[in-house]
Assembly symmetry: C2
C-alpha cells in the first residue's frame, strides 16, 4: 500500500487514535485493490469477511427485494463501509458496487475484531463511528417518513449546496437516476420534482444546479438539524 494511502486511512476518525503497533498490524493484513466501474464488491447475504475503505472513486450501497432495488447510500472517499456487519460477524444487509473506477482497501474483519479487543482507543472510535452511522440512518428514515419527494429533493439540494461550499451554483455529485433511487423515487418523478422546484428559484442545467433565491427555497424546504445536519 502506498505511503500516502496508509496515512489517509490513519487519519480517519476510526483509526487516528489507536496505538501505532495496532494500526500497523491491522494494515499488514489488509490489501488494496483497484476496481473498474460497475463492479459488485459485495452481495447482501454473504458473510462479512472484510471491512472496506473507499480510497478513491465512489461506491453505491444498495438493496434488492422481489425484483425491486434501491440505493441506500453513496460512499465517497475517504470512509469505511459495512462496519456493523464486520463487528457482529453477520451477513451483509446491503450490496455494494463501484460507481466509477475506485480504489478500495480491504481489512479482514477478524483482524478488526481482534484489534478491537486489544486497543481501547480503537474500541472507543468504533463505538463513536457506529453511533454516528446509526444516527445517520435514523435521519434518513425520518426524511422518508416525514417528507414528500419534493421536500426530500429540496432539502437534498440544500445539503449538497452546503457540502459544495455554500455557493449559489453547484453540481450534483452523481447521476440523476441514482439520486432518484437514494431519495426513494423513480427517475421520471425526479425530473418532475426538479420542475416542481422551479417556482422556488431552482434552475437545473444538466448536472448543474443554481439556487436563484436562497430564502425562498429554504422557506419551502424547512431544513432541520435533526434531519439534515450530517455531522451531529
Amino acid at each position: 500500500m502506498p505511503d500516502s494511502e496508509y496515512r489517509d486511512i490513519r487519519k480517519l476518525a476510526l483509526f487516528s487514535q489507536m496505538a501505532d503497533e495496532h494500526f500497523t498490524s491491522l494494515m499488514r493484513g489488509a490489501y488494496v485493490q483497484n476496481f473498474p466501474a460497475q463492479v459488485e464488491l459485495i452481495t447482501e447475504g454473504e458473510p462479512s469477511d472484510f471491512l472496506h475503505v473507499v480510497l478513491s472513486g465512489s461506491v453505491d450501497l444498495f438493496s434488492v427485494w422481489n425484483g425491486r432495488d434501491s440505493s441506500m447510500a453513496i460512499v465517497r472517499p475517504i470512509s469505511t463501509f459495512i462496519l456493523a456487519a464486520t463487528i457482529r460477524d453477520a451477513p451483509y444487509l446491503m450490496s455494494a458496487r463501484t460507481l466509477e473506477k475506485s480504489r478500495i482497501a480491504l481489512i479482514p474483519s477478524q483482524d478488526v475484531r481482534a484489534t478491537f479487543d486489544a486497543d481501547g482507543d480503537f474500541a472507543r472510535a468504533i463505538v463513536s463511528e457506529l453511533a454516528q452511522c446509526y444516527r445517520s440512518v435514523i435521519k434518513a428514515q425520518k426524511e422518508l417518513k416525514l417528507r414528500t419527494s419534493l421536500e426530500r429533493l429540496a432539502n437534498y439540494l440544500l445539503r449538497q449546496q452546503r457540502r459544495a461550499g455554500g455557493g449559489a451554483v453547484f453540481d450534483l455529485e452523481f447521476e440523476k437516476r441514482r439520486l432518484a433511487s437514494v431519495l426513494g423515487m423513480t427517475p421520471e418523478n425526479l425530473s418532475r420534482a426538479f420542475k416542481g422546484l422551479r417556482p422556488y428559484g431552482i434552475t437545473v442545467k444538466g448536472t448543474c444546479i443554481t439556487i436563484d433565491n436562497q430564502a425562498e427555497i429554504e422557506r419551502f424546504a424547512k431544513p432541520n438539524p435533526l434531519i439534515d445536519n450530517f455531522s451531529a
Copy 2:
C-alpha cells in the same frame, strides 16, 4: 430499585458481561420512575442526559417535522433506548412517550460513558448493541423503500405471528393507529390494507388476527431474513 429489577437489567446483553463493581456503581447513580400513559419522556433536540431502560409498559419513539409526526419504533421491556445519543453526547433525534403506565430506569449518560472507558466487556457489549441497532434501522429502511404498504403489513403480521409463538391466531401488540404510523401509512390506509389481505387468508377481529392460510400469505409477503429477521 427493587432487587428483581436490578437483576433484570443485569441480564440484558448490554450489562450481563461487565464486572460486578462497575455494574453496581452504574446502578448507584441510576433511579427508577413510574410514569402514567401518554407522558413525553424526552423531546427530540434536547441533550441526552440519561440512558433509558424500559422495565415495564411500553414506549413510543417518534419524530416530528413540519406539523407531521411518525412513530419510528415501539420499545418493549426489557430494553434500552437512545443509546447512540448517550454515546455521542449528542441531542436526541427522536422523542419518546409512554404508551401505557410504564416503569423506566434512568442511568446518567455521563456514567455510561465513564464506565465504557473502565470496562472492556461493557465496551464490547455497547458496540455489539449499537451494531445491532444500526442493522435494525437499515432493515426498516429497506422495508420502507422496497415494499408497498400492503407488503409491509403482510410481513409485519408474519413477524408478529412469530413473536407471539407462531400460532395461526395472535394479537396485535398495540393500537392500529400506532401500527399504521410505524408502517408508514395513515390509519385509513391500514384499514384498507387489512381488507386487501383478506384474499390471502387474513381475518381481523378487533385486535385479533387469524392467518387462515399460512402458505398463501407467505407467498404474497415474500419474507426475507435480510429484512425481517430481527435477531441477525
